[in-house]
Amino acid sequence: MAKTIVVIGGGVAGMTAASRLADLGEKVILLEREDQTGGHLRQWDRLFPNRRPGYEVLDFLMENLEHKVDVRCNQGISSVSQQPSGFSLELEAGESLPCDALLLATGFDLFDAHKKEEYGYGIYDNVITSADLEMMFRSGQKITTRQGDAPSRVGFVHCVGSRDEKVGNLYCSKVCCVTGVKQAIEIKEQFPGAEVFGFYTDLRMYDRHFEEMYYEAQQKWDINFLRGRVSECAENQDHTIVLKIEDTLTSRPLKMTVDLMVLLVGFVPSPETLRLAAMLGIVVGEDRFLEPVDEHTRSNFTIQPGVFLAGASKGPFSISNAIADAGEAALQIHEYLRTL
């Protein structure tokens, strides 16, 4: 009898794993809470490091699903439980779904920038997040301030909600650095005359082509990087933002007025991930992301046989890393199903 695998979460990792499993001849059901698959990728206009359109990758992933995978959108899960053989999912629609293995590809949430009150998100007109900015790019409209003006100076604040004990997140979100550099370049593409600044503590250009993009940002686009973390900001009468940092390389406090301040928000575990993890008895790390059995050698396994992990439910992931990870997860599940 054919085995059934349910993939929870239709983002990058879930879509990749589902199509890989289908290619391997498994019967796959992909559950997505929203009304369509794609996850956060739907929000992204262009991807780092080469600034290719996000929809290219999305289309690729969507096409791979077609005719192979039973994709079910608008499917919230009310509960999941372990059965003598396999698992049983109770869907919010009332349906009960038995399966032999589960893949948690539930992804992440973006950090809620309201929590950094000193940055004034939701208080000042021209403080936005990197996700807001990406949506603006995606809309195809020119970027403007809330007042409708073209920005002449834009500041990118790194590490918002990441590496910050004050919001309880000690970890690094990995991709905000490179996102900040990418978006800074995109601002300059639209407004060659604008001044663009990045306020950083460390710039972590960890992957291939990242450092080169950073180099390009400086060399070609004249983007300024100031080493210092923004401590607070205030709003001027003209709705511009005055921010404060220490210019740590001259050891002096510095204030600067920007027309637009972009907060590079990081990853946080989604409540849905944690809820499912609790129901399944999966170990949650101190950073509240899901813990695999062994982060080097068995990074897709959980302590519960038959429950697998892929992508950003395990911590911050880039799209390319999520795709690779999900492919590996599919192979591991395929092998596991053979042993049943």
Binding site: K115, E118, I123, K166, E232, A234
Partner: protein, 598 residues
């Protein structure tokens, strides 16, 4: 005829020593008062305050009124010891006067009366009124004290019955004195019983019956046992008296003097005076402060509570950790049955400990401010909570207040944070600087959003103008009809900031204000009993993890009634709670601002 026996010596010598110590220290303390306080003391003795002090001594030192208020069982336990023993001494004296053939009785005579006079049945007073009155009375009082002793033993095992969770961890001298105290009355009971039983007379309902039983068992040797027990009784009393000045029981004479001092209007100063020393002596180490201390039950720090801090001061063993690891939230002094201002004493000690570091504030800017009738001083923390500033600006604009935002571009600190480290002199520089700035503005009202600033403005700045926290000022504006408000139905729990509530004695204005814009829900521990948010500036040596524990615990209390919003009136509390709260945390100014029609 006055009787004497060698065994009275330990008691007598102990008593002489104790009286010497009390007189010695009382006179040292009284003479050690600053001149103005000495004057208050001299005039106080000959005023009506003297009698109100006596009354207070009776109510607090003997009856333990405050203990009763806290917990009836605890109060009774303390009363039975103090008041019971007092009555034993008083009635014993009266009784011994009646039997005495001389004009002056030695002090040991009433204590060991039964040893010297075995048969007291011939007393004319009793024949004519109630036979065996004194025999009954003395046994009854002894039983009264013994009931307290039983409770004290029960308290060791079941502190919860007495409204306590933890008890004080005592020192050796405390333990010796305590063992003596516990043994004194049972030993007296059996010493008297053996004597009464042997002589077949003189005892009351308790001692006589118990004595008769003993003689049945021990026969003739009862006399020797009785004698040995009288020795033991005297020795226990003697040891107790000698150890008393070095143990927690020194609080008894100290508290008496403290009550007189207070009744005469003597108060604590910013540096150590006799008053502070008497306060330190008056700590009975009852441990009430231990249970209320959030550092203890929430953050598992158990060695710095007021009782241990005061003991370390008395023993001259203050160290940096015990001094600096305290929230200075004021909860312990609010709970203290003796009313000791442990926080003030801690600051005085921090001052002495803070060393001789010159602070360099020569950089203070000197631009005079613009003139304005109202000053708004947000406070440095408020600059990290821009929503409060936005709200205040919006409300003040709406209400048409002509004001100057004094620290819009930042300013120097109000001085309280450094004062909390005990660096008074350095704080004084900041106070002086800000005070000049405030006075130069010509304002009649100073409004601040920060309770820390609010407290120091009121306590230290000695400003001739109104100093208000924004909760008070906004309430005034609303009452004057200057702020239109929309109906608003959100369940709100209010958190009292330490420096506004216990520190500033303002509990009502924020509640009244909130009631106008939201629905207040009940918080189990609030008002005087409200908890510190964990962000306190009073504490120096604490990890952020321990702070988190305190915050979590305080949040449990505040969210007990499932509010939708947690309201507070302090930027520091707001930031501290925001890190952990699962519901929205708002300052009351924001609540008012949100309730204003667009």
């Amino acid at each position: 005829m006055i009787s004497f026996n060698l065994f009275v010596l330990p008691f007598s010598l102990g008593l002489i020593y104790l009286l010497y110590m009390i007189i010695r220290w009382w006179s040292i303390w009284i003479r050690g008062l600053p001149a103005e306080d000495q004057k208050k003391f001299r005039t106080g003795i000959f005023s009506r305050n003297f009698f109100s002090a006596l009354k207070e001594v009776f109510l607090e030192s003997l009856i333990h009124r405050k203990m009763f208020r806290r917990n009836a069982l605890l109060g009774y336990m303390h009363m039975s010891f103090a008041f019971g023993w007092f009555l034993l001494i008083l009635c014993g004296n009266i009784e011994s006067r009646i039997y005495s053939t001389t004009h002056v009785n030695p002090p040991y005579y009433p204590i060991f009366l039964k040893f010297f006079i075995h048969d007291r049945t011939v007393l004319w007073f009793e024949i004519n009124t109630v036979p065996g009155f004194f025999r009954f009375l003395m046994d009854f009082l002894l039983l009264f004290v013994l009931s307290g002793l039983v409770l004290a033993m029960v308290k060791r095992g079941r502190p919860k019955w007495f409204g306590m969770k933890r008890t004080t961890h005592h020192q050796l001298t405390d333990k010796v004195a305590l063992i003596c105290l516990w043994l004194i009355f049972p030993v007296r009971l059996i010493a008297e019983s053996f004597t009464d039983g042997y002589y077949g007379a003189g005892g009351g309902f308790l001692t006589q019956h118990l004595g008769n039983l003993m003689v049945l068992i021990f026969h003739e040797s009862s006399r020797h046992i009785a004698y040995a027990l009288w020795w033991a009784y005297s020795l226990l009393l003697g040891i107790f008296f000698v150890t008393l000045p070095f143990s927690r029981f020194w609080h008894i004479p100290s508290e008496v003097l403290l009550i007189f001092f207070r009744q005469f209007g003597i108060t604590a100063k910013k540096s150590t005076t006799s008053f502070t020393e008497v306060e330190i002596g008056a700590c009975s180490r009852c441990g009430v402060c231990i249970d209320v201390c959030q550092l203890g039950y929430a953050a598992h720090i158990h060695d710095i509570q007021a009782v241990y801090f005061l003991r370390s001061v008395r023993d001259e063993q203050v160290n940096r950790d015990i001094l600096l690891r305290c929230l200075v939230c004021g909860r312990c002094q609010e709970a203290c049955p003796v009313g000791i201002n442990a926080d003030s004493i801690r600051l005085i000690e921090r001052n002495m400990f803070s060393g001789s570091h010159a602070s360099d504030f020569t950089y203070l800017p000197a631009d005079p401010p613009q003139k304005a009738p109202v000053l708004y001083f947000a406070g440095c923390m408020t600059h990290l909570t821009p929503a409060i500033i936005r709200a205040m600006k919006g409300i003040l604009k709406q209400a048409g207040v002509d004001y100057l935002f004094l620290d819009e571009k930042g300013t120097v600190c109000c001085g309280r944070p450094i004062m909390l480290s005990g660096k008074y002199e350095q704080a004084e520089k900041l106070v002086h600087f800000n005070r000049e700035l405030i006075l130069q503005s010509g304002a009649h009202t100073l409004v601040t959003s920060c309770p820390i600033c609010f407290r120091v403005f009121r306590e230290e700045y000695k400003l001739p103008i109104r100093v208000m926290h924004h909760s008070q000022f906004l309430l005034e504006l609303i009452k004057a009809g200057k702020i239109p408000l929309q109906a608003f139905h959100r369940k709100v729990a209010y958190h009292d900031p330490c420096d506004l509530g216990r520190g500033g004695q303002e509990y009502d204005a924020p509640r009244e204000l909130l009631a106008k814009v939201a629905e207040l829900v009940e918080v189990p521990q609030d008002g005087e009993d409200s908890l510190c948010c964990g962000g306190s500036l009073g504490i120096y040596t604490i990890s952020s993890r321990k702070r988190d524990l305190i915050t979590h615990d305080a949040l449990r209390n505040l969210t007990a009634s499932q509010p939708e919003v947690l309201a507070t009136a302090c930027p520091l509390c707001k930031k501290t709670f925001s890190k952990h709260a699962e519901i929205e945390v708002l300052d009351i100014a924001e609540m008012v601002y949100d309730a204003m029609p667009e």
